[in-house]
Symmetry: C2
Subunit: 454 residues, 2 copies
Amino acid sequence: MTPIPLLATPEDYSLLTDLYQLTMASCYAGEGVADRIASFELFTRRLPANYGYLVAMGLAQAVDYLRNLRFSERHLEALQQTGLFDQAPDGFWQRLKDGAFTGDLWAVPEGTAVFANEPLLRVEAPLWQAQIAETYLLNTLNYQTLVATRAARLRDVAGPAAKLLEFGSRRAFSPQGALWAARAALAAGLDDTSNVLAAVQLGRKPAGTMAHALVMVFAALEGSEDSAFEAFHRYFPGAALLIDTYDTVAAAERLAARVQQGQSQVASVRLDSGNLVALSQAVRSHLPDTKIFASGDLDEYEIARLRAAGAKIDGYGLGTKLVTGDPVNGVYKLVEIDGIAVMKESSGKVTLPGRKQIFRRHEQGRAVGDRLGLMTDTPAPDEQPLLELVIKQGEVVRGEEKLAAIAARTAASVASLPDAVRQIEQPTDYSVDLSDALVDLAARTRRSVAPPQL
Amino acid sequence: MTPIPLLATPEDYSLLTDLYQLTMASCYAGEGVADRIASFELFTRRLPANYGYLVAMGLAQAVDYLRNLRFSERHLEALQQTGLFDQAPDGFWQRLKDGAFTGDLWAVPEGTAVFANEPLLRVEAPLWQAQIAETYLLNTLNYQTLVATRAARLRDVAGPAAKLLEFGSRRAFSPQGALWAARAALAAGLDDTSNVLAAVQLGRKPAGTMAHALVMVFAALEGSEDSAFEAFHRYFPGAALLIDTYDTVAAAERLAARVQQGQSQVASVRLDSGNLVALSQAVRSHLPDTKIFASGDLDEYEIARLRAAGAKIDGYGLGTKLVTGDPVNGVYKLVEIDGIAVMKESSGKVTLPGRKQIFRRHEQGRAVGDRLGLMTDTPAPDEQPLLELVIKQGEVVRGEEKLAAIAARTAASVASLPDAVRQIEQPTDYSVDLSDALVDLAARTRRSVAPPQL
């Protein structure tokens, strides 16, 4: 394999896993338990600080992964060459050779609000397959869920009229991170992305303004900032002008004079530095019909502050604080093996046993509480089960959704939550009860004497 | 293009850019300035909180990108279909068709410690090429530099004897993010990665232990935790056993009894929860010859705390806090166009003009201070210029380095810094002066009356 670029194309998905998944699969094969049906659930133990909910995202890429999971001769050779598998049983190599994902996948649809301890997905498959899928599934769901949740919070704070643009590619953690961030952002409330490849791959039109470099080029070669604005508008007449390279208010005044003389139109401008409240008010006073975009380390907290302070801003470019930062720490835990419910009892990391379903109760269109129960629990009339069958015996049975459909679900799912749960600071906990059957199963499954502390 | 998976393979690198890079390139072509030679430098305005230095990383991927930069017919069609380029001049399309990177690249070698305002690289190329490269180059350098810096700090705190393992794939921001994190971590001080694909692509042996799932499987099917340990050791006799699934100390006691009876050997164990100080001491007392690994949201601060508290830990698994979190906020700024030095003067975001060189002064093998000057400055006898020519007129003139060589440079570069600069909390600022020629150029370049505030 070529050493660079460091990529995981679909044909290499199988090796994009932690080593221990493969050593454990090898052990399972040798001990005759590799094909027992195992159920693993993916969930977060707690929500990130100040988050009242998560928006599930990344299922499409999870499905893509499971569909493409294959081990080629080249992969097998690479594993053999590590020297780590010299005592691996034949059954291990044979399974990798024959292998493909033959199990079931249950998941909440992308764009669904979920809470701590609620499974975003469950894999029910031969143990060795379910085991090796852990790393990639977590990678996929963790990151897109993070970005989607932030996008939903941004939309909630900025209001439906604000233009929200994803500008994070230069700060995202790898090129593919930039693409996945763009997808999750557009699927959960943002309007457009500046990433051309992401837009093309997602069937969307990319968006953007102009950079300081262009202003500096024309200022250096032609002597004025205005020559940059005029040049850019010759090819992109409606484009937003970046007016903070030298003196923001002076630039706005000069543009206003040209507009009044009928010499040009200024559909929109962007501010990327300085006091955005005062500057946006000043720009609005000079250019009352011009849309004002703001950028520069913005997040939902800063947008709320700007709005409260009376800033005159019509749209926001979101980058660093949308696509980097503290992660969603999803985990993927065995809950049942061969029909036997299991639970982990490590200090502070206890898990709930059994194959679960989320039952969401609605009253007058609002979500009022969830019951986390077992798949075998019967939903009450006002309860909606959230986990759906997506892959059945290796075959995809729930088609991929369009981004617009996911975005609509996100908006509806978040809008249905209690206002106090949607707050971006100190949100109230949404009510999630455990079903009687789940509590009972946990009590019967527990090995240690101490009661489980979630 | 297929909608998923969201990937940027080398043939699509050209579109992995922000839209405005292409609209600006279009404007440059129309205005007859696209081929003027532009110099852009990539640097950070300030170091992340509590970071005394950065370790430059990601150059290999930057070179790979520049070498592969091409626009295919498919890309041109995709751009045309956006409808955004209807007024773009012919010269724009012609340049994309003919295009390849024909400029120069200067960069500090990977593994070099750098400081605020010091360029990690400079592109000198026809303006349109240098412009469109911005997004990808920042993406590449920002993330790998972040991970490399953390890896170097971890090594510094843990000491040369500790085993440091990269376990972050499940939390990394996209599959490619996982691969790039593994590369940067291994190139800057960590020993191994658990990511099998990363290890294979980097020519390394992957590393790992075992997961709770295996313990739970055998506990459920065969009735005991010990059956899991025995099963795993049948295929991987030296593998670390994960002993915290139920009761850590009880598991260690049982293993110790088997060791004393000569029934098994326990080369190493892993602890993933609970009080790591007390547990590691207890495990060491029962299993004095067993290596103890720890994992679970560890970072350099926690390792320092564990060591100070007397924990008995021989190795650490590093994941979430190595590969996610707040970014390095590198920027890429025009410093010269057509021989004319330029600078940005936006509030709080002033840049230094001109093509720069970093001169590092050493005394008795220790770095004692840098002078940030112009390429035309003459180095003093005790000064080492850090930026080297990597690509000359589109041809790579400095070969790719092996990871081991980069790791050696990282270790030496960090070791040469003053101890107070290497501290992980409240490090002292390393001394970076501006050369007289640079100060003079900035004064002459400034357009506004106010003095620049860096």
